[in-house]
Amino acid sequence: MNIPIWNLKKQNAILGWKLVLPSIFIIGILIIYPIMSNVFLSFYDVKMVGDNTFIGFNNYFNIITDPDFFNSLFTSIIYVLSTTIGTTLLGLGVALVMNKEFKLRWLARSLILLPYIAPVISVVFAWKFIFDPVNGIFMHITVENLHLFSERFNLIGDPKYSLIVVIVFSIWKNFPFAYLMLLGTLQSIDTSCYEAADIDGASARQKFYYITLPYLKFVLGSLIILRLIWNFNKFEEVYLLTTSVKVLPVYTYFKAFTGAFEMGQGAAIALIQFFILIFFILIYVKKVLKW
């Protein structure tokens, strides 16, 4: 039987649509609708009971005139940059070490994954116990035993140190992901490349820069971009550990869901956050990755 090619193409196209339609439907309901609803809300004064009033760009105006917004934007930027650089570098370092042969390597490899696998809430509580100013082991050792500090202080709660703690926590918790991705790529590099380099008399550093790094380039690029997105939107790790660090998502939460429920303003911040993220990512992709 002869079926004209154009007809076959058409049928293929129809089949394709049929196959993707359920996903489009689900994505539409779960992602597109909430986003559109969010955009819509950001132009309204949202009331708990009764009709919302259209107030144009007032929500946006209120936010960009709020000094707390810029503080939290600044905090967010520091948090995202430090954690992204930290997780990537630590992940890379550990992956390079774990790529070498040594005894009990299998054990070390699985232990490294623990922080990433453990549920956030349990790890957060463990950290809180460790750094508790009165009962924690950290203060006991550093103040009473080693006399590194003159007196006990609240490392996690005190706003002076809490941003650093949150950054260290995030790096410690998330570096195994970078490590896992990088180790996988490292293992796929053909050893003959290094053998050839050895014959040419290349140093260890030259081998790293001219063989390892080019191989890792795309994985590193993706890791950085994913970490940027994830950590810019990170809420639970920060909020559970301390409320002293107000990164943008935590700021949004306090605006939208506590006190007077500025849902409209919350929606507007979320949208601003979205555009800031898009802006940074575009710059990163165009200028840094040159994709």
């Binding site: 708990m48 009962n135 006990r152 005190d158 506590t258 006190g259 007077a260």
Partner: protein, 461 residues
């Protein structure tokens, strides 16, 4: 004609049914015919308390097979956002157990069924309630209420009587004695602290601060609802409080730090009468935590006699006396379905019958005190499972419970309810101010200006 007769019969039947309910008083039958299911949000989060509440609900369901009640636990701090979500989704639960502040807040948002609430209060008997408790949930239009008072606690300073005696210090009841003792016992080098007052951006901070501010006649509003926040009295209170916080354990602190007291590392702490329960548990635990049963535990700081060495001061004095407490109430919300409304109301009424009420209050003896007159003398009530009331004695208990009538709040000035205070409370303006000063090192005057402008913004809305 025949149809009218049937309608008449049905009406007659319903009316007789209703009379049965009222005449029976304690006997719990309802007029609901259709199966009704509703959620009951409670602010209790401890698993043993939830288990008790579920037993009470199941007892009621056994008596009323058409009714299904789902008990849902919502932490008080999370209640506003959960209610917000429920309102947006259009499935707000008909019955809530919540603090009076939240009740006023939700009431001013228009989600409370005021008629049904008044009806329930009248059913139970307006005069059966302590007046002070009812005042805390009254609407600005006197005579109607945002919720039905259910139980309550008073707050005060709990302190180590043995330490105070040894040091020759007076019990901490005035600004002077409190500050002196806090400074005296603060010894960070030996991991010992003077006092615990709230410094986080949470309700607890406001609870502690309110008592000090009002004891200095410092108010947020005058009786007409005008903002009088930035007064010399308020500045004194803020200065005193933030200075007192220097004798806290390091960093921002909240009620959870009471554990340091239980460990014998703190001289005083602010807490509600709920701690009586915890101290009693500690005492009960003493028997099982001896070295005989758990060899590993010998040598720990556990002090089985802590409850006996703990004193309580409910009233703080400076230029005025002030006590602080919270009334927890039951709120009936506006519902589209009349049957659900009715069922929730009937269940709420059941919760005030002696058996159910005393069972509920016994979940936390000392913490949950009756708001109905006559209960505190009831032998069933005084015979709590933990033997706490016998321990503290009837007189002491009555003193604590009577404190419920004397509670002073920022939101009620000379008997007038200031609705705007609900928003100020739930936005944690005062705790934020305390946090900025004590933790971020901001200066008192500019932070008070900031707080005043935030308050003005809320009042302006």
């Amino acid at each position: 004609m025949k149809k009218n007769f049937i309608v008449f019969l049905v009406l007659l039947f319903l009316i007789i049914g209703n009379i049965g309910v009222f005449a029976g008083g304690g006997s719990e039958t309802t007029t609901t015919e259709e199966p009704v299911e509703f959620e009951f949000w409670v602010s209790q989060t401890e698993s043993d308390r939830l288990a008790t509440i579920k037993v009470i609900a199941e007892t009621y369901m056994a008596m009323n097979p058409d009714i299904t009640i789902k008990v849902i636990s919502v932490e008080e701090n999370d209640l506003p956002q959960n209610i917000q979500a429920a309102v947006s989704a259009g499935n707000i639960p008909p019955l809530l157990e919540l603090g009076a502040e939240n009740a006023i807040n939700f009431g001013s948002e228009g989600i409370i069924d005021l008629d049904m609430t008044l009806e329930l209060i009248n059913d139970i008997g307006l005069n059966n309630f302590y007046k002070g408790a009812l005042e805390l949930v009254e609407t600005p239009q006197k005579g109607t209420y945002y919720a039905v008072p259910f139980h309550g606690w008073v707050q005060g300073i709990w302190y180590r009587t043995d330490w105070f005696e040894e040091a020759g210090l007076e019990p901490p009841g005035t600004w002077e004695t409190i500050e002196k003792a806090a400074e005296y016992f603060y010894d960070i080098d030996n991991n010992q602290y003077g006092i615990l007052v709230g410094t986080t951006e949470e309700n607890y901070t406001e609870q502690c601060f309110t008592q000090f501010a009002i004891s200095n006649n410092a108010r947020i509003f005058d009786k007409n609802g005008n903002v009088v926040f930035n007064s010399p009295e308020m500045r004194e209170a803020v200065e005193y409080y933030t200075n007192l916080a220097k004798f806290n354990p390091p960093g921002p602190q909240t009620w959870r730090a009471r554990d340091y007291y239980l460990q014998g590392k703190m001289a005083m702490f602010f807490y509600s009468t709920y701690i009586m329960d915890d101290l009693a548990i500690l005492e009960n635990a003493a028997g099982s935590l001896t070295g005989d049963n758990f060899a590993d535990l010998t040598g720990t700081d556990f002090d089985p006699d802590l409850a006996d060495k703990t004193g309580f001061v409910p009233i703080i004095s400076n230029t005025d006396d002030s006590s602080y407490g919270v009334i927890v109430a039951l709120a009936l919300t506006e519902q589209e379905n009349e049957a659900v409304s009715q069922a929730a109301r009937d269940f709420a009424k059941y919760l005030y019958t002696n058996d159910a009420y005393i069972t509920w209050l016994h979940m936390a003896p000392g913490g949950m005190n009756p708001v109905l007159k006559g209960i505190s003398d009831d032998p069933d009530f005084l015979n709590d499972p933990k033997g706490l009331y016998n321990n503290y004695g009837e007189e002491k208990m009555n003193e604590i419970i009577s404190g419920l009538s004397e509670i002073k709040r920022f939101g009620i000035v000379e008997g007038n309810v200031i609705e705007a205070y609900g928003d100020i409370f739930s936005q944690n303006i005062i705790p934020q101010m305390i946090y900025k000063i004590t933790q971020q090192g901001m200066d008192i005057d500019s932070t008070m200006d900031w707080a005043e402008s935030e308050i003005e913004k809320i009042v302006g809305n």
